[in-house]
Symmetry: C2
Subunit: 596 residues, 2 copies
């Protein structure tokens, strides 16, 4: 039996105090997001996650999804009803465009909601999460007709959405896509081919499913420059949104997976299905990438969400489970055993996870806020700076939060000892669920290459230079305060990150393998500095509240200590990352293939 | 579809060249273990693992074990036949005492066999592995009658064995055991209580199961000093070993676990079962600990075995899977995609895993050889030194090989991208299987505390001092040779380890929490130095063979480069471990309970 309490108060502190959402009240939709509204929305979201979604998490794992002989896919017991309530609550359209029925609230709130939903039930959260991707793609690249037809249905949850990229021979390398699109007389296309690993490709939650499909139009060039994006609805709608006949698309098989069993992962067959071009011909990969940033941020949040869920369960277990005695009682004979929370090794584990969770939440929400600003600010420079930060931080959030999040779930499982291995305890499901986030939406090695190969050099390094300056200014400004335990390790981390960046400039331009071999370590070094920077900002905000005698002072003081432990024990990893980066690629590339 | 090839050649190189088994020909049983015999035995073991056990690995996972209404437990299809062949081949008694029907070969060969068996089928390997524990317990602590009655049957595999320690409220803390033993008139005891997590507690592989059970005799003191060890056979044998009536012991339930589904994990009920005291009354915990060392070494090898298995599959996939292009071809247009093995990030991953596997195998085998020497040498000083090394290295092998082994399995899974998450690919089973080794036989946090709290200070630090000297002498002796890429990082690692040890002496005696908070990092720091030391010795042996123009030179040269990558990229972690250790416990212990 597992527990989950949505971290509403902690999230509000980040939004109100660390990110100071109220400073952005001039952005569209932010005026409506006054602190009391935000608190009410997130409180309600937390309750929904705790009361409706969390109780279905284990059922979803045990039952999984079922493909029936007639091609229907049914979701686990309770999912349909929960989805109906989730849609009816307006949660899917929380940050959606009000012109199409969305609530128009800041995207940062949708990101917070996403954490709660995913902690409570990651498999469930995949379904509305994918609709989000379809919304973004159509909103950015679709025609007026497509927007009018699809967006209201997607935002209300009446229809669900998917992204169809992967084929058996084409994963990371989308240029290898073989799905074809042949023009029909009416301007639509006939789509033929097979797609794999399609989350939510078929299910029983919504009346229709809107597939966004990458395919090559007959005659288009080979490689990524000949791929176009199509919208292919499961049921073809009339102009008024009423449902017509079934399209020629079907689920051929469900994958048996390590985890997220409640999420239907489908092999999809397109047998001359009718699709409509979204955006420009042959520009599908670039169109898909504009929505990818948002999806990757969502996956990063999955890493955090599972880390939080596993943490809560491990901490509760450590309070209850009595084994051995505290060191202070080592001399005593007799008496009951102590809760294992007294043991330093357990405290080390829990503090490390919690220290990550708090900073990772702040980083994810800060990045979501950048997405808001990049889209909605009326000031060009503000918009550009936010877009830079968003592009730079997206692979970091995706790669680092899922890698470290998974490690944290494993560490939390370890707190349970052998009991953690038993299905009934529940935590082993969290490990199996969390694992996928490192692999899909671009495996983390690809995130690292995106950061080092694309985001670093972009615009002459403008984004990374601005980030270094932001951290460096903060360090300079707060060097002499009570923040020293935060500033010291952050400053060291920034030095390591700058040294690594310089090393790439000196060694990776002439020999790109040096960049590629160090990319994963660089991504993690970058992530540590970003998390350390968040901790410094959180500590500053906490200090101020404590000094004011805020009623939350006791909790904030505890968090402050958790942050100190993070700076003492996690941040020194920046030195290791730098050492690995500067080891370079020589030995690795000298290895004959037969040696591996 | 997964693959497995037993690393026979690599193992022989460690045994013959690095450990120089022939130097120990004077030990009993070692005379028979001439290089050609060892090669034949391990070759045969490898074939058995590849051809008989590996094909049952996935079946075991999918089918699992079944508890029937009549209390019988059946193992997955094929396990019975494989077990019969394994027993008939004499593999269970490979290193067993010839006086009781064992083959009397060195234990180091049994350790190598254990790796192959576990890679091929970890769940299967649990059954004979547990018999090994029962053999050791009875051989060391049993009466003559018990030895005559049980050892031949256990060594032949006719009977299987178990260890019964854990109860719901008593895991690490054996003093909390509630199972009771009441004296019977005939000198036997009536055992009553429930034990959980009993691997192989009930199954259909052998005619009888010999349970070794910890229980408290009526009137014995509370805590660990009132626990005795009993032998409780499932079917009570007559003096001649013929089977009599069923004992009052039964399997009440099978645990549903994350992995090793083919291994029956039982809740065992003892309802006044007849048992016989093994060893002295109230000394059961200490008796159990003498056999624990061997079991822990076996679990450490499980970490290596799964890392090797996952590596082989990831490397094969990286050769076949074509996505993207090598950096050298970045400018080309057209042409086929390259195998992902060309990408530096994939090479980094594979080299790190292989670099661990080679050194971990050497460390496990060196420790197994120490077990041989500690038991069989006729020279007191040689025996004592080997016993010191064995005791010191056992928690390191268990904790470090299972922690890093698991991380490697996860990293290998990552090479598959999204395909790694699909059950059919097979690698996700390896992750689920490997996970348990960090938790059972003493969770790894307990291994770390054993190392720091018990093994370090033992006999005035004699064992650790000798180890430091051994490494330091090697470093001094080989400083100027072609071994520099190995000696440099090893020397730095040793410095870090010595600094950490000094820090404990200065800070953990007065404040034990400083030792406990740093224990896990210290265990890993110790493990890195031990692995680095192994690499230096392997590199030395490889250099010599290559200089001789050995026909294996091409492979050895490749391994040498893999070792260099390990020294460059893995060894720098010693600095991080030292930094965490010297962070101390202050912040962790200052955390109010409510903050966690």
């Amino acid at each position: 039996m597992t527990i989950y309490r949505a971290p509403v108060e902690a999230t509000l502190f980040i939004i109100d105090d660390v990110l100071a959402l109220s400073r952005h009240a001039n952005l569209p939709g932010f005026g409506e997001a006054a602190p009391d509204v935000v608190a009410a929305v997130l409180g309600e979201a937390g309750r929904f996650a705790e009361e409706v979604l969390a109780p279905l998490n284990r059922i979803g794992d045990v039952e999984g999804c079922t493909l029936h002989a007639d091609g229907r896919v049914t979701t686990p017991a309770g999912f349909r009803d929960a989805y109906r309530r989730f849609a009816a609550g307006g949660w899917i359209g929380l940050a959606g465009d009000p012109d199409y029925g969305g609530q128009g609230l800041p995207f940062v709130l949708a990101a917070a909601l996403n954490e709660f939903v995913t902690s409570a039930n990651m498999a469930f959260g995949m379904y509305p999460g994918l609709a989000q991707g379809a919304v973004t793609a159509i909103a950015r690249h679709g025609s007026q007709r497509q927007k009018r037809l699809y967006l209201p249905k997607l935002l209300s949850g009446e229809w669900a959405g998917t992204m169809n990229l992967t084929e058996p021979q084409a994963g990371t390398d989308l240029g290898l896509i073989r799905t074809r699109a042949g023009p029909n007389a009416d301007g639509s296309y006939a789509i033929s081919g097979s797609k794999i690993f399609i989350s939510g490709g078929e299910h029983d939650l919504a009346d229709n499913i809107v597939h966004l499909v990458l395919a090559r139009i007959d005659g288009s060039p080979a490689g990524t420059k000949g791929i176009s994006m199509f919208v292919v609805p499961k049921v073809i709608p009339a102009d008024d949104g009423s449902l017509g006949e079934a399209n020629r698309v079907s689920c051929g098989a469900l994958e048996q997976k390590m985890g997220i069993h409640g999420s239907a992962t489908c092999l999809m067959n397109y047998d001359g299905a009718t699709g409509w071009l979204v955006g420009e011909r042959d520009r599908g990969v670039s169109a898909m990438f504009t929505m990818m940033n948002e999806a990757r941020l969502g996956v990063g949040i999955q890493g955090l969400a599972l880390s939080e869920l596993a943490y809560q369960n491990a901490a509760a277990y450590a309070r209850e489970r009595r084994q051995g005695r505290a060191l202070a009682r080592a001399g005593e004979s007799g008496g009951a055993a102590d809760p294992i929370l007294v043991h330093p090794d357990i405290r080390r584990t829990l503090a490390a996870i919690k220290g990550f969770n708090i900073a990772a939440r702040a980083l994810a929400l800060a990045t979501a806020l950048d997405a808001d600003i990049a889209e909605k600010s009326s000031d060009d420079a503000t918009r550009a700076a936010a877009a830079d930060r968003l592009a730079l931080m997206t692979p970091v959030v995706k790669g680092v939060l899922t890698d470290r999040g998974f490690d944290n779930v494993v560490a939390a499982q370890q707190v349970f000892g052998g009991h953690g291995y038993i299905a009934e305890t529940g935590v082993e499901q969290f490990v199996r669920d969390a694992r996928v986030a490192m692999m899909y939406e671009g495996a983390n090695g690809i995130q690292a290459l995106d950061l080092v190969g694309r985001k670093l050099p972009k615009d002459g390094g403008r984004a990374v230079t601005a980030f270094f300056k932001e951290v460096s200014d903060f360090v300079d400004e707060h060097r002499d305060e009570a923040l020293a335990p935060f500033i010291g390790p952050l400053s060291q981390g920034l030095d390591d990150l700058r040294a690594a960046t310089m090393w790439f400039m000196a060694n990776a331009l002439a020999r790109p393998a040096n960049g590629a071999a160090g990319a994963t370590d660089y991504m993690h070094l970058f992530g540590l500095v970003a998390l350390g920077f968040m901790w410094a900002r959180i500590a500053l905000a906490a200090e101020r509240r404590i000094a004011e005698g805020d009623p939350r002072s006791e909790r904030l003081t505890g968090d402050f200590l958790v942050g100190r432990a993070f700076m003492e024990r996690t941040m020194p990893e920046t030195g290791l990352r730098l050492a690995r980066i500067t080891a370079g690629a020589e030995t690795l590339m000298a290895l004959p293939e037969a040696a591996l």
